[in-house]
Amino acid sequence: MHVFLLGVSHQTAPIDVREQLDFSSRDVGAAVETLAARYSAGEAVVLSTCNRSEIYVASDDLERARQELVDFLGSYHGLPREAFESHIFVHADEDATRHLFRVAAGLDSLVVGEPQILGQVKDAFQVAATRQCAGPVLTRLFHTSFGVGKRVRSETGLGEGAVSVGFAAVALARKIFGRLDGRGVLVVGAGEISTLTAQHLRAQGVGEIVITSRTAAHADALAADVGGRAVPWSELRGSLAAADIVITATGSQRPILTRADIETVTDRRRGEPLFIIDIAVPRDVEPSVGEIEQVFLYNVDDLQAVVQENLSRRSAEISRAESIVSEEVERFAAWRRSRGAVPTVVALRQRFEQIRRAELQRLEHKLGPLTPEARAGVDEVTRLIVEKLLLAPTAHLKALPDEETQLAYTEAVNRLFELRDESPVAPAADEVDAEQPNRTRS
């Protein structure tokens, strides 16, 4: 059984193509069911986010899987193949595994190490699992990918450090104040970054967010957006006194907060720190304000520099994350290979069991006089002998290093024990698989 992947991502397709192939805005569950119904293996997972649409299936025939998935994409989205065929990528087996593990780890994301993708991978699997569309191969594959995502996040610094100006500001506030509960925030002037920053701060549980702007309507709108309180522009200096964090983002050509303004406030703060984030260009706060003891002044360039530094620190962690991915790909490949041996193992077991029963049957006239307990004992002993005999061959067959060796071994076992002529063994494969519970790292 092979793992096959076909999809588009921000690396291979422009936004308009990705939009046309998007599943997330439609019913992903229905798509998964349609897909799973088409393949003999009955396994399919669809991962669709704004950066990617990827279909994972388990299939015995890779070329057929490719053809069918391209047809499916075209018919499901009502597009001619030419519209998207040049943008899709396909991976099989180890490459497909590696791709999913890299995605789950955040290595394939637009912003390397971003945390949302792992949740999206989990959701995608959940949709398939609840519809019984994820069989043993994909279940194992996705569960392992969750583990990879977790490992990369805990063992490397790939997801560390804020990589947007708003988050960088919040991270700094936390390094200054510790917990942000109840801290007063003053937003001066409305803009995209100041809105985002205020929203991040709100999520951290800050106290009151006071908003003021030269245009009262802007202040009111922002106040409604972030759940704050708008005050008239004339109250700017008065509102400073209650603020621990000040965000300025006005279009003013001259500084609106001077050193004297801030010193008046800090004198009354009794050494409590004051964090000022000046996002405006030109700057709203006199640069010399940063020299005041217990005042921490960051402008937009400072925050950009922090973001850049975090990004480069994340890239330095990529190789460590990649080696975790490789390790897990290898582990998954070994498991998949071991599954290749399953039909042979099952056939071998059936053969041995058949012989055992036949012999017991043949000796029936000698066993007849025994008490029921003694007969049960004979049954048990013979069963145990067969189990013991099969233990080592089963383990070896499942642990073969590559497909070529596996083929040679299977062939040998088939001939030695004359397995080919026996009853069909394929349907019993899941039975053995059930004996070996899926190892999940959660």
């Binding site: 009794r270 050494g271 003891e293 217990q294 520099a305």
Partner: protein, 275 residues
Amino acid sequence: MKILPLLLYGVSAVAYAVHFARRDPAAGRAATASLLVAALAHTFVIGMQTMEVRHIPFASLPNVVSTFVWLLALSYLYLEITTEERAMGVFILPIAIGLQSISALTPGVEKVDPVLDSPWFWIHVASLLCAYASFALAGVLGLTYMLQFKEIKKKHLGYLYNRLPSLLTLDVMNSRAMTIGWVFLTVGVAVGVLWTAQARPLSPDDPNLRAMSLDDPKIFFAVLTWAVYSFALFARTRLGWTGRRAAWLSAVGFIIVLLNFLPIGYFVTTSHTFQ
């Protein structure tokens, strides 16, 4: 006997260093656990000594230093458990190891001068040791504060920025440690003064008691320490000297404490040379 805790503190220091460098939570838990084991072993050693000499081993300087290290380890563990901040371990453990080595290398004879045989003496030493342990913590917190302050103020958010706690956390903990230390220091010094006044008429010829005055470096430095910490607390509440200024004062205060404790205690003092 003092070697065992010393070795265990060494193991703990390595664990804290690994935790600091890699920020691996498992290494952090191992560090706390190893320090707990070291502190327990130290408790056992001190307990054995107490049973042997029938009093807490306070009467010779090396033993006093060892008891101080034990108190420092316990108070640091308390701080760590209440704040869930492990970053200061890398700064505290070297102090503990350095002092414990001095103590282990200079074995002291635990013989109590008859003049000292008074409950006041034990209260005096115990309070001062608690004060010094608090000041050691405050000093390390102050140092950590200054390092973190520099990173944030200079806008260079590097190695330490990611590892050290927030400024306000450090400041609050520093203030608490200084206040607790100041209370113990005040009690310890006051008891010392009262007890000297009481003991002098009883043993008028004792050279130590005769030397008890501000002219003696140990006493002078003790009073200086008290003055520095009193000012630090006054300045925090009245002048708003929090943050970096408080951090500086706690670091300076601890340097004076350390000077008084070791070089002066070992070599210079004329009044505290009992035995």
